[in-house]
Symmetry: C2
Subunit: 446 residues, 2 copies
Amino acid sequence: MRGDLHKLSAVDAAQAIRDGRLTSEALVQACLDQIAATDKTIKAWAYLDPELALVQAREMDRIRKAGRATGVLHGVPVGLKDIIDTRFMPTECGTPIFSGRKPDTDATIVNRLREAGTVIMGKTKSTEFAYLHPTDTTNPHNANHTPGGSSSGSAAAVAAHHVPLAVGTQTGGSVIRPASFCGTFGFKPTRGVISRTGLFRTSQSLDQVGVFGKTLADTALLTDVLGCFDPADPASFGRPRPAMLDGTNAKPPVEPDIAWFDLSFHDRLRPDAAEGLEVVIEVLGPRIERFPAAPQLTELVQVHKMIYDYEIARQMSPIAAANDDRLSTCMRQTIARGLAISDGQYEDALGVKTSANEFFTSHFNDFDAIMAPAASGEALPLAEGSTGDAIYCTIWTLAGLPCVTLPLLIGANDLPIGVQLIGAAEEDDRLMRTAAWVQRAMTQEE
Amino acid sequence: MRGDLHKLSAVDAAQAIRDGRLTSEALVQACLDQIAATDKTIKAWAYLDPELALVQAREMDRIRKAGRATGVLHGVPVGLKDIIDTRFMPTECGTPIFSGRKPDTDATIVNRLREAGTVIMGKTKSTEFAYLHPTDTTNPHNANHTPGGSSSGSAAAVAAHHVPLAVGTQTGGSVIRPASFCGTFGFKPTRGVISRTGLFRTSQSLDQVGVFGKTLADTALLTDVLGCFDPADPASFGRPRPAMLDGTNAKPPVEPDIAWFDLSFHDRLRPDAAEGLEVVIEVLGPRIERFPAAPQLTELVQVHKMIYDYEIARQMSPIAAANDDRLSTCMRQTIARGLAISDGQYEDALGVKTSANEFFTSHFNDFDAIMAPAASGEALPLAEGSTGDAIYCTIWTLAGLPCVTLPLLIGANDLPIGVQLIGAAEEDDRLMRTAAWVQRAMTQEE
């Protein structure tokens, strides 16, 4: 097998490796070459040891050649956001406070990746403690723009063909927004599908794991691999999980029904993004029903912020006590703000969160998905000093709903813009089926 | 769907439930009726709360009817050997010492069962601490005979159509022998495929998990569900596992080659078993190559015994210190014997174990499987006070190889006799493919 191996999708690469048309070593070497050629500018990687990646690749090749069992992602390299604990690589969480930190155990999802036969390529850059303070990672489409955050390196690494797959996390919009900015597919499944044990915690109530891929099917397959019931994670559930890849490959029994809410903060959308989304709505025509802004939906943005601030402040304050001078200003401000929130205010916010879940459950009786912006528009210039606004994602993250972003639009500066679809809780397969339908409908029409 | 629901295989039941032709509640109720009708004699269950089983069944039905995700064993009841920790049911390990014991956490395999959608039917009787002292369980084919041990209740429950599936453990021959005695399929996969975290430990080096089913495919599917990389279990491995059900359904590329060793202890086989095995060898003809006893193979029986005695004695002695009067005589004797084994003797035995693994690895270059007796013959009469001799299994257990028993023979007293097949480590799928071929060859010829 020749050509641009580093551009292969994960599904295609895994199939080629299983069939013996491609070795993991050749694939990993092609990805390493691409990293060597481009990462001086992109700066996606917090830790990368080419030899360690190649050792894993050769072992996967040895297993396959010996006729032993292969995994569904056998020999396929994956990047891990650097808040995911790994015993064999440092895990620094985007902060000098954790410089050289080596955890004693792997995160639970690293075990899932191992049994699927993946090669753990390295650790991708996270913003400081997966919060707002940016990394030095740049957008692969234009190095003067942000890749988004907090999963900056994971999104950039997939967009730059450094790896076909990467894992990130989302507490606000940290998977969907960087995927939108970098022009990859991004998927955050229903809260609890993927274990968070061994990940740096910012918010027990809100933190969720998501993935980046070059195709929708790639994100689905990786999510199938990562999914696991883990009683050590209070969000995890001991029930069957939706089959993500099967969902992606399924044809809808009838054309799907999609809802669009005109939310108050849509006035912050950049004109090119707003226009592009209108085109999508027009193309999908009768399949989309448009609703005025429900005020309680907008209020959820504040509820999300209160829960996040309260929880991250309490997680971070022991670290801040010893390292105040090594935290960013915005993190110190958030800790102060969060500690000022009373237990009563926090508990009220948790109550609203629960009722929001019920609102959405009833809503999905009539609709297969909600469509929404993934971000305000194109990736912001680095000069703005921000990884972008999470507001287009926070409501859905708060409710723990599955969200996917499709790289369907191109903005005024030739940068990608994603279109977000949100599904019913624990019906990620239906969301994936709908998203695949939208993807087909939009790319056929264009 | 009507008729003998309790006689459905797990594969068929799961398919019927997924298709909406059968509810989990109807299946579980049929199994409960069968238990009510027969367990006064068979005594397979250490703990069974019909309402708790039905609650789980109704929940699985509710999930399916709501269009939510279903698991591969959705709504199918499974029995668990009573050394497998469950939070919601007592786990008494076949001893009055643990009477009413309620563990704080579920065993890791219970989590795997939950995400597959199974109904945890109840706990099946184990011999005292999964060792030799018998339970009061009787053989479903003849209540005057033993079901075998130590997974007595699991084997009997499947054979008596109380549940389509049950989980057991094997340190010597505790899955393969009771499956042979009760006429079910039994499968113990490669050591490390299934986690032992949360199971009562008798021997860290030898304890392994296995399963009972009505068909080979049932045992394969349950093993696929239970398999998981669990770093908390030192035997577990972070590599892809063989796909058991795919193996069972695969056609061999050519007819398989099977080895038979004439081992010194085969002179202990009952005449009807020895005759039956000769018939199998004859029917399979050129596919079987027969070898004289390799003396180092027989020595492994002693190596197994030394490791087992050494380890179980050290596990049991703290319990024995406080409860000596509530232990069986044979357990007390074993503890004394095991404590007398020196660390040096034990380490030598572990060394031989390692070299045995290498011997077998090279052997499986030429053969797809080894065929061997599963037990001495039919189930022993209860009057003999023994669950039978594990010697036909201990070598393979020591080497951690995958073993399966097929209920192919009927003995002089009309009781079943199994035929054991042993495969290469981590090539369980090849073993299952070979076993399915043997099963077809034998049942077509008869």
